[in-house]
Symmetry: C2
Amino acid sequence: MLAAAVKQEKEELLEAEDLRDAWSLLVPEDRLESFRALERTDAEDLFLSLSSLDQAQLLLLIPIPERRSWLRLLAPDDAADLIQEVPHEDREPLLSLLDEPTRREVGSLLAYAEDDAGGLMNPRYARVRPEMTVDEAIIYLRRQAAERTESLPYAYVLDPDQKLLGVVSYRELFTAKAGQTVREVMRTELVTVPEVMDQEDVSRLFQTNRLLALPVVDAEGRMKGVVTIDDVVDVVREEATEDIQKIGGTSALDAPYLQVSLVGMIRKRAGWLSVLFVGESLTAVAMGHFEAEIAQAVVLALFVPLVISSGGNSGGQATTLVIRAMALGEVRLRDWWRVIRREFLAGLGLGSILAAIGVVRILTWEALFHSYGPHYFLVAVAVALSLVGVVLWGTIVGSMLPFALRRLGLDPASASAPFVATLVDVTGLVIYFTTARVVLAGKLL
Amino acid sequence: MLAAAVKQEKEELLEAEDLRDAWSLLVPEDRLESFRALERTDAEDLFLSLSSLDQAQLLLLIPIPERRSWLRLLAPDDAADLIQEVPHEDREPLLSLLDEPTRREVGSLLAYAEDDAGGLMNPRYARVRPEMTVDEAIIYLRRQAAERTESLPYAYVLDPDQKLLGVVSYRELFTAKAGQTVREVMRTELVTVPEVMDQEDVSRLFQTNRLLALPVVDAEGRMKGVVTIDDVVDVVREEATEDIQKIGGTSALDAPYLQVSLVGMIRKRAGWLSVLFVGESLTAVAMGHFEAEIAQAVVLALFVPLVISSGGNSGGQATTLVIRAMALGEVRLRDWWRVIRREFLAGLGLGSILAAIGVVRILTWEALFHSYGPHYFLVAVAVALSLVGVVLWGTIVGSMLPFALRRLGLDPASASAPFVATLVDVTGLVIYFTTARVVLAGKLL
């Protein structure tokens, strides 16, 4: 949430900033020690700037009697995020440190899924009544200002049932004539966020509307809180991290790299790696079918990695581009036909480029080293034709897999580059050896 | 920039929203036609919600006399972004449509690199003088409010030389006593952004400080404008897109997927793909060295794709995790030693897991199909040992390459998964065949 950042005297600031920079490198004990060596306001700024996970870890190291003032420093939504990061048995004791109204707010926030609008929102915001005059509203807001932790430039207009009627900016209150009522100056055409909306959709709503905050309402139109744009920055960053990690063929780490334990790290990576390995072991089966050809023309085996990796690389490009375009909302499910047409042509083009390089490469090597036997030219033709086929196939598989996954209700980002490469490797082998069989029939084979 | 989103009557809204959703799917002519069919306010909202590129394309389709009111709808920084998207010869005519002061502002914004703080900032913001009383400041702000396109909750306190002295929030003005001067209530400990700061650093500054806006100052401390957090959301999204595309082994597209022409798309992808292909063609050289072994024991060739792809996959995981951790500031250059120690152990663990699966796989296949000849057990041992070596090697290369690139001043995200896979494929072959030679000496070889 938006907390005023207070810059300290130059020297102290550096110290506190250094500590913030070094934070992820320190073991918990060193963190605590350096933290306690800071002046109180420096320490508070540092604490506020930490992630919820770091805050939680630090808080649990602090002696119990001192915890209260640190926890109470946080806005209710940030306190809820912190409490979600601690082990279950530590939650109740922490909740009991909060004052009664905040505890109720945090409790109801904890009931929301972390990834919903309800889990992002702050339940504290400035509210006014429609029948107030502008001057009354200003006086009323002045009184509320003391308790608010948010510094939003809007006040929300609610009826006695907490139903959201409109919104009014401080600027509009400033510029209104003194006798006007809030109802007369408020805007009633509102963009609202349902409390169960997924955080990715919330971030898209901010993208189209470009407001600093959006009100969260329940199914009856009652206002529950506000989501502010600074939380959206975190959402955008988090979602990108998850997608990148999936594209790289791991499960999402859900924590900073250096803070994941070795065992946790292996667990996050071994799953996909094993699946890919088992899938890739089909290449041994595929190659087994062509064992006779390999025995007869060992030269064919030399180009296996080159041909199949080209399919994997072009497929990896295609899947990555489509996954990102989907995440940004640039490509939707029903665009699959436009995508496949483009990728078909792109795949043909890219395959032809690689085929040309491949032919030049084989002919040059043959001229220099006589590496590939009497039928080198036919080998080059077989490699070139296979490259066009394999790259085209890789591109199509890579671009369509995210559509298939999304259609099945799965995360398109699971169509990771290595996953596509594995799929394409097996089929790539079949394309290569079948092509070679046709091209080299009667000569090498 | 923050523009008030005005929600229309239910039915019209849907129409405008549908059009916004379908925007990227329409050809330019259809866009123009549907756009002109909208009511003026709907059309304005749609226009404001488009990306700078879409705005520019649309504007150039609109008849020249009508362009002015659309261009003037934009805040100066957004107008500058739009003008950066049009061909050079169209820039001057568009600039001439702006009013004189805005033209000067936009002109000076165009002088900044798009990726600098100066290129992100809005030169319009609310300003007050330190010697004003709070009441004078409020009256003065009311007058300014009419011209502002920003709806920030802060006013900046400047001296006559435009030097930034402090900041005061509307809330602080509200809650101050009437007789106080601005100097008495303003905060003077400021976080400022140098105008030449890179946008990624700007986004990190927002992450630690959690403010809605930061003032941009030049080397002499003169205030040039404000960067608001909604621009930071775009920066975070853009930078993630660039990284994802690079990790996927393409150049950054710099435009939505469906808007890149086929030729442009091939150009963005062919470069890396060709480099990878040439690199990968070293696998043919490496395998050429082991041609005798392959001829003698064709069974060895069957496991080539399996073994080398495991190195590529584990290397791709490692590089992706490290690239993202670097981008998030979780891992820095000097952390390389901590990373390599972790990855060494992770690589050993992951390699052992795959080796175990590999042994089970080969023994099962042998029991079922008698596929691998009399020395199947030694083949399994050779494959298993190679897997440990190749996965370990892939993990280390993948995790260290981003460090090497950053050390050389290059973008770590260029250490794409396919790049690592290519590096590892060649060495993986050498590891595999060398291991096989040792294990199978006197038996198969």
